[in-house]
C-alpha cells in the first residue's frame, strides 16, 4: 500500500513540471498556431541561465524565476516578431503556415542548440538544491520536488487568472476562438499572437528554472521536454490551462507507474501512449 502511495505521490510531483512544460507550448500552438519544436530549447536555455546565476552569483534558484522569465519572454517576443510574423504574412494558407512554421522551428532548434553548445559546452552540469527529504506520515517527499510542484501549480494558477480575469487575457482567448471576429471587435490580433508566443517562452523559462533544481543539464536535453509537452497537450487538449494541469498530472502518474514496473521502458511508454492518443482522440481527452 505504501509503495502504491509512493508511486502516486511521485507521479504528482513529476506532474507539476510536466504541466508547466506544456502550458507554454499550449499557448504557442493553441493560439498562435506554431508547433514550436524548439520549445524544449527555450526550457534548456532557462535551465542553463539559472545554473549560471546560481553557481556564479549565488542567487537562489527560486528568485531566478523573476530574472530568467523576462529574458525568455523577450527572446520569445523577438522570435515571433522577426520570424514567425514575417512567415505568417508570406504564407498563403493557415495549413501551409502550420507546416512551414514547424519546419522553421526545427531551424530554430538547431540554432539555439548550437549556440548553447558554444556558450556552455557539451558537458553535463548541475547543482544541488534542497537535497533532503521531508516526511508526511510515512510518505517520503524529495524536498526540491515538492517545492517545484508547488511553484509550478502556483504559476499555472496565476497564469490561468491572467487569462480569465484581465482584459488582455480576454483578448487572447477571443483571438484563439475566432480571430476574425476578435479583430472586428478591435482586438489587435497580431499583437495578441506575438504576446502569446512570448508568454509561451516565458512559461518555458519558468519550466527551465524549475527543471534545473532537480535534474542535471546538458545542451541537448530540450527535445525530451518538447515531446513531453506535446504529449501533455494531446492529453489535456489544446490551449486549455486546466487541461494542461490535469494532463501533466495524468502523465506524471502514468510515468511513475510504468517506471515502477519497468524503468527502462518509461520513455517508450510515453511515446506509445502519445501515438495511441493521436490515433484515437487527437483533440485530447478534454479537448473541444
Amino acid at each position: 500500500m505504501i509503495s502504491f502511495i509512493n508511486i502516486f505521490v511521485n507521479g504528482l510531483l513529476l506532474g507539476g513540471i510536466y504541466a508547466i512544460t506544456a502550458v507554454g507550448l499550449s499557448m504557442q500552438y493553441g493560439v498562435a498556431r506554431i508547433l514550436n519544436i524548439a520549445h524544449g530549447e527555450f526550457i534548456m536555455v532557462g535551465a542553463f541561465l539559472t545554473w549560471m546565476l546560481h553557481t556564479s552569483l549565488g542567487i537562489n534558484p527560486l528568485f531566478c524565476l523573476a530574472l530568467v522569465g523576462p529574458i525568455l519572454f523577450l527572446l520569445g517576443y523577438l522570435v515571433r516578431h522577426y520570424l514567425f510574423k514575417t512567415l505568417r504574412e508570406r504564407t498563403p494558407s493557415p495549413a501551409a503556415f502550420e507546416g512551414n512554421s514547424m519546419l522553421m522551428a526545427f531551424g530554430l532548434l538547431f540554432v539555439i542548440q548550437s549556440l548553447a553548445i558554444f556558450i556552455w559546452g557539451k558537458s553535463i552540469v548541475g547543482y544541488s538544491f534542497m537535497p533532503y527529504s521531508v516526511y508526511l506520515g510515512e510518505i517520503r517527499f524529495a524536498a526540491n520536488r515538492l517545492v517545484i510542484m508547488v511553484a509550478a501549480v502556483a504559476i499555472c494558477f496565476l497564469f490561468y487568472l491572467f487569462l480569465t480575469r484581465t482584459r488582455t487575457g480576454k483578448a487572447i482567448r477571443a483571438a484563439s476562438q475566432d480571430s476574425d471576429a476578435a479583430a472586428l471587435m478591435g482586438v489587435d490580433i497580431n499583437r495578441m499572437l506575438t504576446l502569446c508566443f512570448a508568454l509561451g517562452a516565458l512559461m518555458a523559462g519558468f519550466a527551465g528554472v524549475l527543471v534545473s533544481m532537480d535534474v542535471k543539464l546538458n545542451a541537448t536535453m530540450g527535445m525530451e521536454y518538447t515531446i513531453i509537452a506535446i504529449i501533455v497537450i494531446v492529453l489535456g487538449g489544446l490551449g486549455s490551462i486546466p487541461g494542461s494541469l490535469v494532463g501533466g498530472f495524468l502523465l506524471g502518474i502514468f510515468g511513475s507507474i510504468v517506471s515502477g514496473i519497468e524503468p527502462g521502458l518509461t520513455l517508450a511508454a510515453y511515446y506509445l501512449l502519445f501515438m495511441v492518443l493521436l490515433l484515437v482522440k487527437p483533440s485530447g481527452i478534454f479537448g473541444r
Binding site: T86, F110, L279
Partner: protein
Amino acid sequence: MKLKTDAKNVSYLVIIILILAFLVAVPFISKPYTVILLKNILMFVALTLSWALFSGPTGYISLATAAFYGAGIYTAAYLGDVLPLPVMVLCGGVASFLLALIIGAITLRLRGIYFAIFTLSSVELIKHVLHWIEITVLGKRGRPVVKVSDSTVFYVILIIVVLLLVTTYFLKRSRYGMAMSSIGSCEEAAAHIGVNVVRVKVFTFALSSFFIGLTGAIMATGLIYIDSQIAFDLNYSFFPTLMATFGGLGNIFGPVIGAVLFSYLREILITKFPYVYMLIFGLVMILTILYLPNGIIGLAQTIKVKFLGGKDATATGRKVN
C-alpha cells in the same frame, strides 16, 4: 514547341549521363578520401530523393526517415555475415518497406502536423524499445557490422541514386504520380474523383521507405559498430527534410541540389566545427522558409522568368512541372 522541349530534355539527359560517367570513374582516378566524401554526399542525395518521392507531391511531412534508415542498418547488422551483399541490401529495403506499410496503415487518419509528429515519435519509440530489448533480453548493447570496401559501398549507393532518379521520373508521369499530386492539392477532391487515396499514400510511402532501407543497409557496412542510438538518430529524419526544402520540391533536381550543397558543407565542417555546421544549417533553414518557399529551384525559375521573360507556368505555385 515540342521540338524545343525534346531538345531540352535530351540536353538534360546528356548532362546527367556525363555526371554519372564521371562518378563511375571516380574510384579509379581519385584519392580514397574523395570516394568517401562522394559516398557520404550520395547517401544524403539518396535519402533526400526518397523523402521527396513521397512527401514532395503529397505534402505530408514525414519525419520517419530515421526509422527506415535504422531498419536498414539493423538488417545489415543481423544479416551482413550470413547473406551476400546484394541480397542483404535488398533485405534492408524490404524490412523498411514492411515497416512503412505498418506505419503508413496506422497513420492514414492523420493530417498535416499530426502526421509529422506521429512519424517523429515512431522513430523514438522504436529506438527506446530496441534499446530496452538489447539491454534486458539480449544482455548486450549494439552489434558489429561486416565491413565492406568504400568503393563497393560507393557503387551500390550510386546504383540506388540512379534507381531513385528513374523511379521518381517515371512515377511522376504515371497514374500514381498524378494521384499523389491530386492528394497534395486537395485530398477530399482526389478521393471524390476516384483516386484510391489509401492505397496511393501507403504504397508510395512504402516505396520511398524501400529506398531509404537500401541506403541504410549499405551505409551500415561502413559503421563497424552500431547500436539503437546510432541507427535511429533523429538527424536522419531532419536532414533530408530540410535539404529537400532548401533545394526545392518543384522538380527532381531540387532535392539533389539541396542534398549535394548541404552534405558537402557537412563533410568539410563536421569533423572540425560540428556546431558551426549545425548553426549554419539552422540559419539557412530559417532563411529558406522565410524567403525561398520554393527553394533554390524556385529562385532559379523566378530569376529566369524575370530576366528572360516569357510565360512560365512555374512562377506562381509550389508545384512545378
